[in-house]
């Protein structure tokens, strides 16, 4: 119960975490976790892999956040906020894991010591050091395209993280276990919208189909393993993305068919350019906004 006379007044000396509605648990993603790398795993590979998964989450969270205050309904503001928060949480854990095994690239030279690894990686790498895929980088487009992209991204990520629950890296396995619950909801939320839009009005159907046509080519580079993934998959740490292709294809085909949408031809596999640091101008623009303030004040603490 809120006490009228004390809530505001007690601000200065309030250190009792218990009386805040949701706790204050946004701190130190890997606090208290044993981050030792298991035998036989190359830390550089493990870190690079964490950046791939972490960057996808960070970039998609940033894209979804662009909808906040612009969403079609207040319920959707809340839902998109939830999904964005989940993805940010995953990004923080994965980037912190990358940092914990020493994969920091140039970022650590640019960021001052007080800046935690997760922020050094998020704010002080340039686009060519990002390992995200074009699927999460491209502009949102309208609500239909945004939700089609989310459906695809959540389906792929869910399939990967479901397998990663058995990773030989216990930190990655724990992150995946948490993420699977979240992504199940993300995929379900996106699928429900694709159904409503595809099978809604003539306009929503047209927009959903346009969204599908725009997003489908981005599937091309999602299922080609990098050398890092191949090595780590062989070591029981990572997932070879080719292994999830059929599952993802089945899910997407089922949703689109139920949504009365035409399923485009599946694109031929292409080299994983994003995973290798090759990106379009959309990522550079996105990073300019994301990183601008932090880079203006490299010695600041927030």
């Amino acid at each position: 119960m809120v006490h009228e006379e004390t809530v505001y007044e007690a601000l200065v000396n309030a250190h009792d975490e218990g009386h805040w509605a949701f706790g204050t648990g946004f701190d130190e993603p890997l606090a208290g976790v044993d981050t030792t790398v298991p035998d036989g795993i190359d830390p550089a590979d493990l870190g690079a892999y964490c950046l791939m998964l972490g960057d996808d989450a960070l970039v998609l969270a940033q894209r979804l956040t662009q909808w906040i205050t612009n969403a079609p309904e207040l319920e959707e503001e809340v839902a998109i906020g939830n999904i964005g928060l989940d993805l940010l949480g995953q990004a923080r854990l994965l980037l912190a894991r990358g940092g914990s095994v020493g994969v920091l690239g140039r970022s650590r030279q640019l960021a001052t010591d007080t800046i935690p690894d997760e922020d050094a990686l998020a704010y002080f790498r340039d686009a060519d050091e990002f390992r995200s895929t074009a699927l999460v980088e491209v502009e949102n487009g309208d609500f239909a395209r945004t939700l089609v992209r989310l459906l695809v991204a959540a389906s792929v990520r869910l399939a990967v993280l479901a397998r990663l629950r058995d990773s030989r890296d216990p930190v990655l396995a724990a992150i995946a276990t948490k993420g699977v619950k979240e992504l199940t909801y993300h995929r379900d939320h996106a699928a429900r919208w694709v159904l409503r839009l595809g099978d809604g009005t003539a306009e929503s159907h047209r927009r959903a189909q346009d969204g599908v046509e725009a997003v489908w080519p981005l599937l091309a580079d999602l299922f080609t393993a990098t050398d890092v993934e191949t090595r780590l998959a062989a070591a029981g740490v990572a997932v070879d993305p080719a292994d999830v292709r059929d599952e993802v294809r089945a899910v997407l085909t089922q949703v689109l068919e139920r949504a009365t949408l035409a399923v485009p031809d599946w694109p031929a596999d292409a080299p994983p350019r994003g995973r290798l640091g090759e990106h379009g101008p959309e990522l550079t623009e996105l990073l300019d906004t994301l990183q601008g303030l932090a880079r203006q004040h490299p010695a600041a603490t927030w």
């Binding site: 119960m1 409503r196 306009e203 600041a300």
Partner: protein, 321 residues
């Protein structure tokens, strides 16, 4: 839901009015199906809608920093906060709907300028320190305004306020914590905090509304138990609590007349610029047009989404889809 009283004979209405008055006098709650005077219903709809609109428009000033928040932790905290505000808007529109209002209609009235929202959100957020100052002062003032409303005579509003106040106090704490961290940072950061305090202090004091002598509805609202303290009482209380907090933080308020009066036990403070208040409430603040334009665009650009959801629901009614 409709007002059930219009066709009743006068004698009946007198009895109902007596019952309503007795409920208020006993400090019990009026619930949606209870009889209530039309004036009470209308005043409450206006009050609750204005509050709901404030939550939704209030997402924008801080939302402007979501994409640029300077750490992932701050970005998470801010996103959670802005999301809470959308949730608050939802509860409050629901509370208004128990009085017979309709959310879409209220949104239209907001966008058409027929209903107001808190004028504080018509100021721009110029630096990241503004996010902290909004949490500390603006949310702090909102708490001072709203905690008494947890005892509002209207049940659904009172219950919504209990939950909202808990979350607001969390936001306020986070805002203050951000400012504390910035004050321990670089000289540039400290200057950002002081600048933000300088810009937000007076507009925050205006959040409590016009002085009591120019607040004609206060007496009736207090009699109805939908307002518990006068504007000036709440403003004074807020000033008294804020001064020591500013001292702990290491900032000053931009008011040379601010001074403790041992005789009254309160802080004296300078005159507020009520002309500015009128201008901003009247739509001439720095960000009024921007705020409403964005809300309008969110509605108009996405009408097709709502239409699609409605059409889909109609097609699949009863199919459990």
């Amino acid at each position: 839901m409709s007002a059930p009283t219009l066709e009743r004979p006068a004698s009946d209405e007198t009895a109902l009015q007596r019952q309503f008055d007795a409920t208020i006098a006993a400090d019990h709650r009026i619930e949606p199906r209870d009889w209530m005077p039309e004036g009470y219903r209308k005043t409450l709809i206006r009050q609750v809608a204005q509050h709901a609109h404030s939550e939704i428009i209030g997402m924008q000033p801080e939302g402007d920093w979501l994409l640029a928040a300077p750490s992932l932790r701050r970005k998470s905290v801010l996103l959670a906060k802005v999301q809470d505000e959308a949730g608050h808007g939802l509860y409050l529109y629901s509370a208004a709907e128990t009085l017979g209002a309709d959310r879409a209609d209220l949104t239209d009235k907001l966008i058409e300028g027929k209903q107001k929202y808190s004028s504080i959100f018509n100021y721009p957020t110029l630096s990241y320190a503004d996010v902290g100052v909004i949490g500390w002062l603006v949310d702090g003032a909102a708490i001072c305004n709203q905690v008494p409303l947890c005892r509002s005579s209207y049940g659904p509003y009172a219950r919504a306020m209990i939950r909202i106040c808990k979350e607001e106090s969390f936001h306020q704490r986070q805002g203050y914590e951000l400012l504390m961290t910035m004050m321990r940072g670089t000289a540039e950061q400290r200057a950002m905090v002081q600048d933000a305090v300088d810009r937000w202090w007076w507009p925050t004091l205006m959040m409590f509304g016009p002085p009591d002598e120019h607040s004609p509805n206060t007496a009736q609202s207090m009699a109805w138990g939908i307002k518990r303290h006068t504007n000036d009482e709440l403003r004074q209380k807020f000033v008294d609590m804020s001064v020591p907090q500013a001292e702990v933080l290491g900032v000053t308020f931009p008011d040379p007349e601010l001074e403790f009066d041992p005789g009254t036990g309160h802080y004296r403070f300078g005159k507020l610029d009520w002309e500015e208040f009128k201008r901003v409430v009247g739509g001439q603040g720095p960000m009024n047009a921007t705020r409403l334009a964005r809300r309008r665009a969110a509605r108009d650009d996405n009408t097709w989404v709502t239409e699609a959801a409605t059409a889909y629901a109609a097609k699949h009614e009863g199919a459990g889809a």
